[in-house]
C-alpha cells in the first residue's frame, strides 16, 4: 500500500485500460494471422481477455486502502448531511464548543496548578516544614521559629539542605524621578536558591558571605521587578538601590518563571543581614518564618519528619514555658502550595465535566431524532443489503465531525478563558504557570473523540436489524414504530436533567455561601473607608520619638483634609487575615501550666482608630493622646479576649505582660471594644490592642473615613506623605469594600463560574426537553387527530402531552436530588454558614428546574392541543 499509488489510481486505471486495448489488438492480429475473419478474430480476442471491467476493479481495489477509503466516503456523506441541516449543525457545534471549551480551560488550570511538578530540580524531594504542637495548643501548620530552624540545620541528618524565608516589605526609593514604591519581599537564608535548584539569569544569587549582619546589603530582584522598574536593563546588576533608605547592591536577577513562594514577592534579601537582633538566633517562640528542605536520597519524608520532631521535642523540654512547639510537620512542597485551592479546582473541573456530558447527551438526543427521521432510508438500505456496520459508522462519523468542529472552536474558547482567568485570578497559586499547552490540547482531542463516540454510538446502536424490516412493513402512518427511540431519548433526557439538578444545587449552595460571606458583619465600618499601607524605615525613624512624631503629624494633616471625617492607624486591617499574635502572661492569674501558654492576636492602634473604624466601646475607655512613649503601658481587649482569659471577672484594671516589647512591657487593660474579624469566614479571635503612640512600631495602615467617594482621598493623602518624606512609599491603596471583595474573591469566583455552568446546562436541558417533546408531538400528529376526532378534549390532550414531557424531567429531578446530596457533601469544605442540605436551595432549585421543564413542555403540548383533527388526519 502506498500513498503515491493511492492518489494516482485514476491514471493507473487509464493505463490498464489502454494496455488491455493493446492486448486485444495483438490477439486480434494473431487470430487474423491464423486465418480468421477480422470480426471473429476480435470477438475471440475479447473472449480471451475476459471481463475487462473486473480487471480494472481488481487493480483499483489493489490500489486502494480499505478503511481509509470508506472513512473518506463516510466523511463526505456526513458532511453532506450536516450541510443539509445548518440549523442543527450550528446548534450542535456551539453546544459542543461550550462544553469542550469550559472543560479544556479547567483542565488546563488543574493540570498547570495541581498536577505539573514544581519547576525545581527534583522537586519531589522538596518539603515544606512547619511546626506544630502535639497538645494542639498551636495551629496544625505553624510558622517556624528561627532558632528552631538553626537547631534543625545543625542536628538533622535526613536533609540535603534546608532553607528559611519570611515575608517582609520594603520601601524602594526612586531614582531619576521614579516614585518610591512599597514592595512585597522575602528575606531568606542564603541557601534557599541552591536548595530549590534555581540559578540567576544575570549576576549571581546569595552566598554565605552575604548572609550575615556585617556584610554589605545585597538584593536579588525578580524578573517582574527587573522588567517593570528597571526596564530589563542587565546593567542593573551591580547598581546600588535604597531599601528603607539603606543602600543595597543588586547582585542578580531571578528567572522569569520563578514565582516562589508567591507572585507577590518582588525582591529577596539575606535574612541574617536583615534580622540583627538577638531574638533571631535565640527565640524558639517567635514563629515568623517558613522553611523548605530537600530530603536526602534514600530518606523518606516520614523518617525526616520523625527526626525533626524528635529534635523539636528536645527543644521543648529545654524551654518548657511559652509558645514552643514539640513537633514538626513535613508537607510536599507542591501540596503545601496548592493544597488549599485543590478542592475548589476539582469541583469546578467536575462541573465542566458534567456540562460536557450534558452537551454530549444533548447532541446524542438530537442525533437520535435525526436517525428516527431517516429510519425509512436506513431500512431501505438495509433491505438492499447495506450492512449495519456501515450505518453505524456513518452515524458515528457524523457525530465525530460535529464534536471535532465544536471542539476546535472550543479550544479557541478555552484559550480565551485561560487568558482571562490568569488576569482575574492573580491570587491563585502558580498562576504564572497556567498555559494551554500540548497536554491540554491532547486532553481536548481525547474529550472530543470520546464525546463524538458517545453521541454517535448511542443513537447508532439503537438501530436494530430486526426492526428495520418492520419499519418497511409499517404503513407510512405508523407512530408506534419509534417507541424505542422515544424511550432512548427519554432516558437521555432524564440523565440530562439529573446532571443539571446536581450542577444547580451545587451552584446554589456556593452562591448562598458567598452571599453569607459577603453579609458577614466585620464588626467595623466597611463603607466609605480608604486604607493604605506604609512602613517607616529604620534608618530614618530609628527612635520611638521620631516614629511618634511622624504618625501624629500625618494624622493631623490627613484629618484636616476636606471631606475627611476621621482617620486612624492600625497594624492589621479587619478582613485581611492574621498578622501577629503574641504570647503573654497575666499578672492577676497564676502562670499557665508547663507546656502551655497564653496567646492572642495583637494590633497596635492610635487613639482615634476605634472611632475611625466605628468599633464600639463596650466598657472602660479608648487610648488617650497623652498616653505615649514611656507613658503608654495601657491595653484594650475584645469580648473574645475577655471571655477566654477572664471568664469570671472584669478584665479592666488587670495587667498583661507582653515580653515582645522593648522597655517596660506590663500593660494595664483600660477598655473593652467590639470584636472584629480577621478573616471573613473565621471566628472572632481574642485580640489585644496596644497604643501605637508608644512609638515601638513603624509599620501601619492608614485608614481614612469620609464623605463621598473615598478613593478621591488617595492622591491628597499620598501628597501629604510625600511632602513629609519623599522616600516613603505607600502601598495597597484600597477601600474596605475592595478588601472585602478580595477576601471573598475565591468564593465569588467559584460561585459565579458554577452558576454559569449550571445555567448553561439548564438551557441545554430545557432545549433537550423541548426538542424531544416537539418531535413526539410531530410523530403522533395522526394519533392525536384520531383521538380528537373521536371526541377527546383539548385539555386532556394538553395534559397528556405535558405529562409525557414532565415525566422524564421528574425522574431526572429525583435522581438529581440524590446526586445533589452527594455533591453537597463533597463541596462541604467550600461552604460557609450553609448546610450541604440547605432546604431553601434544594426547594428553589427544584422549582426553577421544574419551571424550565414545564415551559419547555408547554409549547409542544399547546401545539398538540390546538391541532385541527381534519388536518392532522390528512398529514403524512
Amino acid at each position: 500500500m502506498s500513498w503515491r499509488r493511492f492518489f494516482r489510481r485514476g491514471q493507473a486505471d487509464a493505463d490498464i485500460q489502454r494496455e488491455m486495448e493493446s492486448y486485444v489488438e495483438e490477439e486480434t492480429a494473431e487470430n487474423v494471422a491464423r486465418g480468421m475473419e477480422p470480426d471473429e478474430a476480435r470477438r475471440r480476442a475479447r473472449v480471451k481477455l475476459g471481463n475487462a471491467q473486473r480487471v480494472r476493479e481488481t487493480a483499483w481495489r489493489q490500489n486502494s486502502m480499505g478503511i481509509l477509503e470508506s472513512a473518506w466516503g463516510d466523511l463526505r456523506y456526513a458532511t453532506r448531511l450536516l450541510r443539509r441541516t445548518p440549523g442543527f449543525t450550528v446548534t450542535a457545534v456551539l453546544v459542543m464548543a461550550l462544553g469542550i471549551g469550559a472543560t479544556v480551560a479547567l483542565f488546563t488550570v488543574v493540570h498547570s496548578v495541581v498536577m505539573k511538578p514544581l519547576p525545581f530540580r527534583n522537586s519531589g524531594r522538596l518539603m515544606d516544614i512547619a511546626e506544630t504542637d502535639t497538645h494542639s495548643a498551636m495551629p496544625e501548620h505553624n510558622f517556624v521559629a528561627s532558632a528552631d530552624f538553626f537547631d534543625w540545620q545543625k542536628q538533622a541528618r535526613g536533609f540535603e539542605q534546608m532553607a528559611l524565608y519570611g515575608e517582609t516589605i520594603y520601601s524602594l526609593s526612586g531614582s531619576a524621578g521614579q516614585l518610591p514604591e512599597q514592595v512585597d519581599a522575602q528575606e531568606t537564608s542564603w541557601n534557599l536558591f541552591p536548595t530549590l535548584g534555581v540559578e540567576a539569569v544575570f549576576g549571581r544569587l546569595f552566598t554565605a558571605s552575604d548572609d550575615n549582619a556585617e556584610a554589605n546589603g545585597t538584593v536579588v530582584i525578580t524578573w517582574g521587578l527587573w522588567k517593570r522598574r528597571y526596564s530589563g536593563d542587565p546593567s542593573v546588576v551591580g547598581r546600588t538601590i535604597l531599601l528603607n533608605s539603606k543602600p543595597y547592591t543588586v547582585i542578580g536577577v531571578l528567572p522569569a518563571w520563578f514565582a516562589y513562594p508567591n507572585a507577590k514577592a518582588q525582591l529577596w534579601t539575606a535574612v541574617r543581614h536583615e534580622e540583627t537582633k538577638t531574638w533571631f538566633t535565640r527565640s524558639h517562640g517567635a514563629h515568623n518564618f517558613q522553611v523548605v528542605g530537600r530530603i536526602a536520597p534514600g530518606v523518606s519524608p516520614a523518617q525526616s519528619q520523625a527526626e525533626l520532631s524528635a529534635i523539636q521535642a528536645r527543644i521543648r523540654q529545654q524551654f518548657p514555658v511559652g509558645p514552643i512547639s514539640d513537633a514538626a510537620v513535613l508537607t510536599p512542597l507542591l501540596e503545601s502550595e496548592v493544597g488549599k485551592i485543590k478542592p475548589a479546582l476539582y469541583v469546578l473541573f467536575a462541573a465542566t465535566g458534567c456540562l460536557l456530558l450534558i452537551a454530549c447527551l444533548n447532541i446524542a438526543n438530537l442525533l437520535v431524532a435525526r436517525a428516527a427521521s431517516r429510519r425509512k432510508e436506513s431500512a431501505i438500505r438495509t433491505a438492499l443489503g447495506g450492512n449495519r456496520w456501515r450505518l453505524i459508522r456513518e452515524q458515528v462519523m457524523e457525530s465525530l465531525l460535529l464534536s471535532l468542529a465544536g471542539g476546535g472552536l472550543g479550544l479557541v474558547l478555552a484559550w480565551g478563558v485561560v487568558e482571562w482567568l490568569v488576569k482575574v485570578r492573580t491570587d491563585l497559586p502558580r498562576v504564572s504557570s497556567i498555559q494551554l499547552d500540548g497536554a491540554a490540547i491532547l486532553f481536548g482531542l481525547g474529550a472530543m473523540t470520546l464525546c463524538g463516540l458517545i453521541a454517535g454510538l448511542v443513537p447508532a446502536l439503537s438501530l436494530d436489524d430486526r426492526q428495520m424490516l418492520n419499519t418497511l412493513q409499517d404503513a407510512s402512518r405508523s407512530h408506534a414504530g419509534s417507541r424505542d427511540k422515544v424511550r432512548l431519548r427519554r432516558a437521555l433526557l432524564t440523565a440530562e436533567v439529573a446532571l443539571t439538578m446536581i450542577l444547580l444545587t451545587s451552584a446554589g449552595l456556593l452562591l448562598k455561601s458567598y452571599q453569607r460571606l459577603r453579609a458577614v458583619n466585620l464588626g467595623c465600618a466597611t463603607h466609605n473607608v480608604l486604607t493604605m499601607k506604609l512602613g517607616l524605615s529604620e534608618a530614618r525613624y530609628g527612635t520611638p520619638t521620631e516614629r511618634l512624631a511622624f504618625f501624629e503629624q500625618l494624622l493631623d494633616r490627613v484629618r484636616a483634609m476636606p471631606g475627611v471625617e476621621a482617620a486612624g492607624l492600625d497594624t492589621t486591617l479587619p478582613g485581611t487575615g492574621h498578622q501577629r499574635d503574641d504570647a503573654f502572661t497575666l499578672k492577676e492569674a497564676p502562670p499557665p501550666a508547663t507546656g502551655t501558654y497564653l496567646g492572642a492576636t495583637v494590633r497596635i492602634v492610635d487613639p482615634g482608630f476605634f472611632q475611625t473604624m466605628q468599633i464600639p466601646l463596650i466598657r472602660g475607655r479608648f487610648f488617650q493622646n497623652k498616653e505615649r512613649l514611656n507613658n503608654a503601658n495601657v491595653a484594650i481587649v475584645t469580648p473574645a479576649f475577655a471571655h477566654k482569659f477572664f471568664p469570671n471577672s472584669d478584665p479592666i484594671g488587670k495587667h498583661v505582660d507582653d515580653g515582645n516589647f522593648d522597655g517596660p512591657h506590663v500593660f494595664e487593660i483600660v477598655g473593652v471594644v467590639g470584636d472584629t474579624r480577621e478573616t471573613l469566614a473565621g471566628q472572632m479571635q481574642p485580640t489585644i490592642y496596644y497604643p501605637l503612640y508608644r512609638g515601638s512600631n513603624g509599620f501601619a495602615y492608614l485608614v481614612i473615613r469620609g464623605r463621598g467617594d473615598v478613593e478621591d482621598f488617595a492622591l491628597p493623602a499620598q501628597k501629604i506623605i510625600a511632602s513629609m518624606d519623599p522616600d516613603l512609599a505607600v502601598g495597597d491603596i484600597l477601600t474596605m469594600e475592595q478588601i472585602l471583595g478580595k477576601a471573598s474573591l475565591d468564593a465569588n469566583f467559584n460561585a459565579t463560574l458554577l452558576v454559569f455552568f449550571a445555567l448553561l446546562s439548564l438551557v441545554l436541558a430545557g432545549v433537550g426537553i423541548f426538542g424531544v417533546l416537539s418531535y413526539l408531538v410531530a410523530q403522533r400528529t395522526q394519533e392525536i387527530g384520531i383521538r380528537m376526532a373521536l371526541g377527546a378534549q383539548r385539555d386532556r390532550v394538553l395534559g397528556h402531552v405535558l405529562l409525557d414531557g414532565l415525566k422524564p424531567a421528574l425522574i431526572g429531578l429525583m435522581l438529581g436530588l440524590v446526586g445533589s446530596v452527594v455533591a453537597g457533601r463533597l463541596i462541604r469544605s467550600m461552604l460557609y454558614a450553609t448546610r450541604p442540605l440547605d432546604p431553601i436551595v434544594f426547594v428553589l432549585v427544584s422549582v426553577v428546574l421544574l419551571t424550565v421543564a414545564g415551559a419547555a413542555c408547554m409549547a409542544p403540548a399547546w401545539r398538540a392541543s390546538r391541532l385541527d383533527p381534519m388536518q392532522a388526519l390528512r398529514t403524512e
Binding site: A12, M20, S22, E26, A52, V55
Partner: protein, 116 residues
Amino acid sequence: MRKSSEPQNEMLKGTLDMMILRTLVGGDAHGHTIAKIIERTSEDLLEVEQGSLYPGLHRLEDRGWVSSYWGASENNRKAKFYRLTAEGRKQLVRETSRWRQMTRAIGLVMGEETQG
C-alpha cells in the same frame, strides 16, 4: 469458463509474480507476450488470467521489481512494455530458490523420486 478460478488464482498469486519476472529475463515484453510466453512454455498447461496479469504487473512495478514504458509492439502497435529491474532480478533469484525448496519438500512428502 473461468467460474471456478477464484481460489486457484489466489493460490497462484505469488507464483504468477515469479513467472512474470522469469519471463522478463529474456527481454522486455508487453502483457500479451508475457501471457503467451508463460502459456507456451508451460505447454499450455497454465492459462494466464488477464484479471490477474495486469493488476500483477502493476503490483510488481509498484514494488520496483519491474519498470515500464510505452513502446511499439512487434505488430507496430502501441503497447506497454515491462523491463526487469536489478531489484527484480534479485527478487527472482530469491523466489526461485524458495520455489525449488518448496517443490522438493512437497515432492519428498508425496514420495516421488526426485530426478537428478
